[in-house]
Symmetry: C2
Subunit: 253 residues, 2 copies
């Protein structure tokens, strides 16, 4: 059922101030539902999204859908063409590159600040995530690996204590998560070894080292993506970044 459940709001509250459950605005739920559907491929790239259609699908009126679509547009998930409608964004060839370059800058700085401010508690959590992620990776659970990877990176940016870095990195990470899934199995073990080194640097408060490792980590990911790209379709040099659906990989077997 794709109908929106009156969702119990995301639970990322500060420990002490426990507010009673406040129902999320509908547009928020719609936004989340749509990103989820985009990420998991229910809404394929390039697909024309019609407001009333989505409204019917989710059991709400046009307004919340519009508002969600506009936010998705601002964040680059869909492209809004005036007078026509929204299309699920089709990533250009160089987009992953640029995304990872931006991530490198954001997360490298975050890692530096995280190393500066790291508390014992944080470090413990990081170690835990490393362990969990490695386990998933060894078990071949791709979804789990990618998710844990996201959580680890997210925690590090949060440790930076800089709300702007957190915000931007969160946006970038979700996008990366969208493109990244096929890369995960290739990077696999190496990625989590790097995570371990990174956590070590942070726990030792070594800012420069943490920043450096994070930068290399992202760089390796980019390389892996390119290699995979080259291997999957050799002989595509011309950058025609238009409505060529190419192949669509599904991770949900």
């Amino acid at each position: 059922m794709t109908t929106i459940s009156a969702g119990p709001g995301a639970g990322a509250e500060p420990a002490g101030a426990r507010h009673v459950k406040r129902p999320q605005p509908l547009r928020e739920s719609v936004y989340e539902a749509l990103t989820e559907m985009i990420i998991d491929g229910t809404l394929e790239r390039g697909r024309h999204l019609v407001e009333v259609e989505l409204a019917g699908l989710l059991g709400v009126s046009r307004q919340p859908v519009r508002e969600a679509l506009q936010r998705l547009n601002n964040e680059g998930w869909v492209d809004l063409r005036p007078g026509f409608g929204a299309m699920v964004h089709v990533p250009a060839d160089d987009e992953v590159d640029q995304l990872l370059a931006a991530r490198a800058a954001l997360e490298s700085e975050s890692a530096r600040l995280a190393a500066r401010h790291a508390s014992k508690d944080d470090v413990a959590k990081l170690r835990d995530l490393c362990k969990v992620g490695t386990t998933y990776q060894e078990a071949g659970d791709i979804d789990g690996t990618v998710r844990t990877n996201g959580e680890l990176h997210s925690l590090i940016t949060q440790m930076s204590g800089n709300r702007f870095l957190v915000d931007f990195a969160a946006q970038v990470d979700r996008r990366v998560r969208w493109y990244y899934t096929p890369v995960a199995p290739v990077r696999g073990a190496a990625s989590w070894r790097e995570h371990n080194r990174l956590v070590k640097a942070i726990s030792e408060g070594d800012e420069d080292k943490a920043a450096q490792i994070m930068r290399e980590h992202t760089e390796h990911t980019r390389k892996a993506y390119h290699d995979l790209q080259a291997a999957t379709e050799p002989g595509t040099a011309a950058p025609d970044a238009d409505a060529t659906p190419r192949r669509r990989r599904r991770t949900t077997t």
Copy 2:
């Protein structure tokens, strides 16, 4: 007159493909009108914004205003309190710090990439902006100085060729421009000397140097802000970041 003119859309088209002027969606015009009013102080910090009020003021209906307000909320210009309305965001004490830290990361990376990709044309434009900015600064034209400062930084990020860096940096820069105005006269000459060194490094293609200068540049700005803060109100140590309006500086004399 605050009524929205049927604005002629931003003109950042590629040179060859000259599209006929297409009227912007209303929400876009509303968004721009509101940010402008926030930046120039027409809408003071902490002010309660009511949808119908703004709608009347701008001569449109609630709908475009709502959509604009939500975007402003997402970008941190206003705080949306459900059931009550929007308040113009009141920056917390540490916010400028965080903003400048984020900017340091983003623009330092941009400067690096700009140095890598710089064309002759770009460098010429940079030199021009430096000259203009210095002139403004010497003439004591604060508005002009701040604006040119923004244009210079904006051009550098655009030269990076990374749309995400451009996007994030643009957001940060507008916010900085909002907070920054009081700092401009203090920083003055030194700031533009640094700009000159930066442009030189970029023109020579020295990536590391460009990145380094940009980082220091931002760092100096932050220091200047702190000094000004300390000078203006000595003896404020406790970080109570709530509805204390403190003093409000107006730049529009």
